[in-house]
């Protein structure tokens, strides 16, 4: 049976759909009005996949473990591993020898500020859209605290054992973390007397800075180390961020360069959320 070409009425309907679509697009881009819906969907998806896994795969795993009479040992092993992870992260924060802090005074200040016992909350990655991480500008991951907490961590910085990973932007039980390489993210960094707001490039593991040689006459060299300046009030000061690379002259005075991040969000499953206050 032949299909009928769109009539004037259906063409008007298509036009109406295009107008409504454009309107929705404009509202979403400018006002982010649908973030709530998207977050609820993601939370529901993660929860349902978690439930499905715990109802289907986990019982078999448990029976298998039980059949091998090692369940107690496995539990203990898991507990020890978790404690070890916590210890690694704790050592990262408190160690005076660590490379990530450029001087010892900053860590003393950090310890005083964060009140060591409640300094961080160990979390696990629940969902990471690697497709978007590799292809697109939006670099987000979803984490959940190991120990449930009623505190809202929106705005809190997130670390792994290599340094800063990003910042919590939504906390609805499952926390959405905006990575440093997200194109909408901005991180104040410094190196010697040079300061800049490094913005995410949308490429994995890269952030970029630009400066005018009229303002900062001292040139930036490849491999120059950059640290967080703490000027945004979110991240602690003096945390090692990465090294300069791909230094390019945009014109006679303006220079742009990338910073290769020291952290890789794909490397570890455990992260630490630092408390804001």
């Amino acid at each position: 049976m032949a299909r009928v070409a769109p009539t004037t009425g259906s063409k008007i309907l298509y036009l109406l759909c295009l107008i409504i679509g454009s309107l929705l697009l404009y509202i979403d881009i400018n006002y982010k009005s649908f973030e709530g819906v998207k977050n609820n969907y993601k939370s529901a998806l993660i929860t349902s996949s978690y439930l499905a896994k715990s109802l289907t795969i986990d019982p078999f795993v448990y029976i298998y473990e039980l059949s091998k009479l090692k369940s107690t040992l496995i539990d203990e092993n898991k507990k020890l591993r978790r404690e070890l992870d916590e210890s690694y992260l704790s050592n990262f924060i408190i160690s005076r020898e660590t490379k990530f802090f450029s001087d010892s005074s900053s860590i003393e200040k950090l310890l005083d500020f964060y009140n060591l016992d409640k300094v961080f909350h160990l979390s696990e990655i629940k969902y990471f859209d690697t497709e978007k991480y590799f292809c697109c500008d939006q670099h987000r991951l979803f984490i959940q605290s190991v120990t449930p907490s009623k505190k809202n961590f929106t705005g809190s910085p997130v670390f792994n054992s290599s340094g800063i990973v990003g910042q919590v932007i939504y906390d609805t039980g499952i926390k959405e973390v905006m990575l440093l390489s997200d194109s909408t993210h901005s991180l104040p960094v410094f190196s010697d007397d040079y300061f800049c707001n490094a913005s995410g490039t949308g490429s994995p593991g890269l952030i970029s800075c630009s400066y005018s040689s009229l303002i900062w006459p001292k040139p930036i060299f490849e491999g120059q180390k950059f640290f967080s300046s703490g000027m945004g009030g979110i991240y602690p000061r003096n945390v090692y961020v990465g090294a300069a690379k791909n230094i390019k002259k945009i014109d006679d005075v303006n220079i742009k360069f990338d910073i290769v991040l020291a952290t890789n969000p794909l490397k570890e499953n455990n992260l630490a959320i630092l408390e804001n206050q």
């Binding site: 298509y14 759909c17 929705l24 697009l25 859209d129 497709e131 590799f134």
Partner: protein, 160 residues
């Protein structure tokens, strides 16, 4: 092809979106983007016995926006446009060869990728990616259309 119910289309789009997210990290290394969800929707619209309604296309687009975490309205616009073009040329397609139809779908998928990248990946917008994707998607459509001759059991459309 028998017309699929809306519920089945929703599930199939979800599955194709899942596969798209699985394949994308591997293809992007080769500078290729395969919009599996969009191609699947186009295939359904193309193979449908009746015209796809504008509202149906729009709703399916919104649904894909939700499951693929893109801006609301982005896929809705592109799906509506795609179904309009397919509906308009549904009878003309019968005069085309398979190669021409595959090139048509290659072009629409390239337009889709380009338009999508303008909104979600503007900083890394790349013409080589578009060009390579166009060639790859055209060949992919060609292989799929040829597969029905070599593997008849896979044929979904017995009428052609």
């Amino acid at each position: 092809m028998k017309n699929l119910s809306l519920f089945k289309i929703f599930i199939l789009l979800f599955i194709s979106n899942f596969f798209e997210s699985l394949l994308a990290p591997f293809f992007i290394i080769l500078n290729i983007i395969v919009p599996v969800t969009f191609l699947f929707f186009s295939f359904i619209a193309y193979n449908s016995r009746t015209n796809f309604n504008a509202i149906t296309s729009f709703v399916l687009g919104i649904y894909v926006d939700l499951i693929s975490d893109s801006f609301f309205g982005l896929n809705a616009i592109l799906f509506s446009l795609s179904s309009f073009v397919i509906n308009s040329y549904s009878n003309t397609f019968k005069l085309f060869s398979y190669l021409q139809i595959c090139i048509f779908f290659g072009i629409t998928s390239t337009f889709y990728i380009g338009f999508l990248n303008l909104f979600i990946n503007v900083q890394n917008f790349s013409y080589p990616v578009l060009f390579v994707s166009f060639i790859f998607n055209t060949f992919l459509c060609l292989i799929l259309s040829m597969s029905k001759f070599y593997i008849p059991n896979l044929s979904l459309n017995k009428r052609v």
